[in-house]
């Protein structure tokens, strides 16, 4: 189906005075993320209910599940990966700042060394 000419953003879309557009964008992204989470949570709920209706498992089985050994280790990796993904922008910025500072220190040291040689 041709999708030419479909309008996806309403006009006019006025800027909010005094708002930092970056913060505005971030806020909209967080809300979209909340929406995605709601969809996933609802799908999981559907799956749990269907499994219960089919006598495959009960929701109380899910509550009672206690991962051990291999499962526990794999889950830990999953959690770490997820945290790393979401906090990556912060990590990147801090790394960048640290690199800048180290460079400055290195530059300063180089200047100092030059002076000492003189």
């Amino acid at each position: 189906m041709a999708t030419d000419g479909i309008v996806r953003v309403a006009t006019p879309r006025r800027a909010i005075p005094n708002e930092d557009p970056e913060v505005g964008r971030l806020s909209a992204m967080v809300m979209a993320l909340l929406g995605e989470l709601a969809i996933t949570r609802e799908r999981l709920d559907t799956v749990e209910r269907l499994l219960e209706a089919a006598n495959v498992l009960r929701q109380s089985d899910v509550e009672a599940y206690d991962p051990t050994g291999q499962a526990s280790a794999e889950r830990e990796q999953l959690r770490k990966r997820q945290i790393g993904k979401v906090l990556r922008p912060l990590q990147v910025d801090i790394e960048k700042t640290v690199a800048n500072v180290q460079q400055k220190v290195a530059n300063a040291d180089a200047v100092l060394e030059e002076e000492v040689k003189k």
Binding site: R8, I16, A28
Partner: protein
């Protein structure tokens, strides 16, 4: 209850759409009352002559980050709603377009290729619906109608007749049955019919009548027609301007609008009332149904109106609430104008209890009505 033209939703699409609906309700119930307190406190902190003056009040509020966040979040929730519905429609656009191709129609669609919508429609995508009411991609396009139908139904879900979204229309017909029980309309016209949710309500109440709906958008009207046909109703949809249609003088027995006026302007509302008077035969009835808001005269009412105008592209939202609709009806020649509130009814019927009164019992529980006989 739904109808065959209504865009369907997969499991995840439905979850997304209901999420946005609940998000909007959550914001209205949990954040708006706090904003009201903030606005009232800010207004009270200002010199007496400034606290209710929108310009200075707006500037003062915009200094506060939480106020800016409220605007952002409220508008984003609206944009998310259209995005959720739009992407779901795009997935099934081919099927919907095919379904809208009616082989032996009972009603019709009449488009006017040279039609120019009025400025208050052309310059704004009302409700932040991308493309607004008038966008049309040409021959066979129904997307804008599908967007409005599903979007509107989701927005009001559980409060205006489910996916039929027709309580407003049923309530307007109920008003006719309650207050003008002798009228047996042969020719009926709805101005600003949109996707025909309220037009179908009248057509089903008066199956013998010749029923027309007028609106501005080609894609909207093609969809409205297909929707009505799938519901077994004979309706003729015509592209035109509610301020001045091409129908002859005194050619209708019943002319009405449902939540049209707040999408127009002060000057346009007067012209629409005059047009109704022109179109009605003597003895015919005009009814206008609007959102029954209790306009807050204070700072909060002003700020809400300001938000609607600036960030939801609804510039006349507050203006229409301040209009003397009854007086306006009299100005254009109607007399014995009725103004009051009609209890919301899911299905108009002659045996239903009479609910028209001067008591506003709240949005979605009743609708504001002005009506008169010519």
């Amino acid at each position: 209850m739904s109808h065959p033209m209504m865009p369907e939703a997969t499991h995840d699409e439905r979850a997304e759409q209901y999420f946005v609906r609940d998000l909007k309700i959550w914001l209205a119930e949990n954040i708006s009352p706090l904003q009201q307190k903030l606005v009232e406190a800010t207004s009270a902190s200002m010199p007496e002559d400034e606290g209710l003056d929108l310009g200075p009040l707006r500037r003062k509020l915009l200094e506060q980050d939480v106020y800016r966040s409220w605007i952002n979040v409220a508008r984003t929730s609206q944009e998310m709603m259209w995005d959720a519905v739009g992407s779901s429609i795009d997935r099934q656009l081919g099927q919907l377009t095919k379904k809208a191709d009616i082989k032996a129609p009972r009603g019709s669609v009449t488009l006017n290729p040279g039609f120019e919508p009025p400025r208050y429609i052309a310059s704004l995508d009302v409700h932040m619906m991308p493309g607004g009411y008038a966008h049309d991609r040409g021959e066979g396009d129904i997307r804008q109608g599908a967007l409005m139908d599903r979007g509107g139904a989701i927005y009001m879900l559980g409060r205006n007749g489910g996916l039929m979204n027709d309580i407003r229309g049923q309530t307007t017909v109920q008003h006719l049955l309650d207050v003008y029980p002798d009228l047996e309309p042969k020719r009926i016209l709805e101005l600003g019919c949109g996707v025909g949710v309220s037009t179908v309500a009248a057509a089903s109440a008066f199956p013998e009548a010749e029923v027309y709906g007028v609106d501005v958008g080609g894609a909207m009207l093609r969809y409205a027609h297909a929707r009505a046909e799938h519901l077994g109703q004979r309706v003729h949809f015509v592209q035109g301007n509610a301020e001045r249609t091409d129908f002859p003088d005194e050619s209708f027995d019943f002319v009405y609008s449902c939540a049209l006026l707040h999408e127009t302007s002060k000057a346009a509302a007067r012209k629409i009332f005059a047009e109704c008077h022109r179109l009605l035969r003597p003895g015919g009835v005009a009814i206008h149904c609007e959102v029954p808001l209790n306009t807050s005269p204070g700072a909060w009412g002003k700020v809400q109106g300001d938000f609607e105008a600036l960030y939801n592209n609804e510039p006349f939202w507050r203006g229409v609430q301040k209009l003397d609709l009854g007086g306006l009806m009299e100005d254009v020649g109607f007399s014995d104008v009725k103004r009051g509130y009609q209890g919301a009814t899911p299905k108009a019927s002659r045996s239903a209890p009479r609910t028209f009164s001067d008591k506003n019992i709240g949005v979605f529980r009743c609708w504001l009505i002005v009506s008169a006989r010519k």
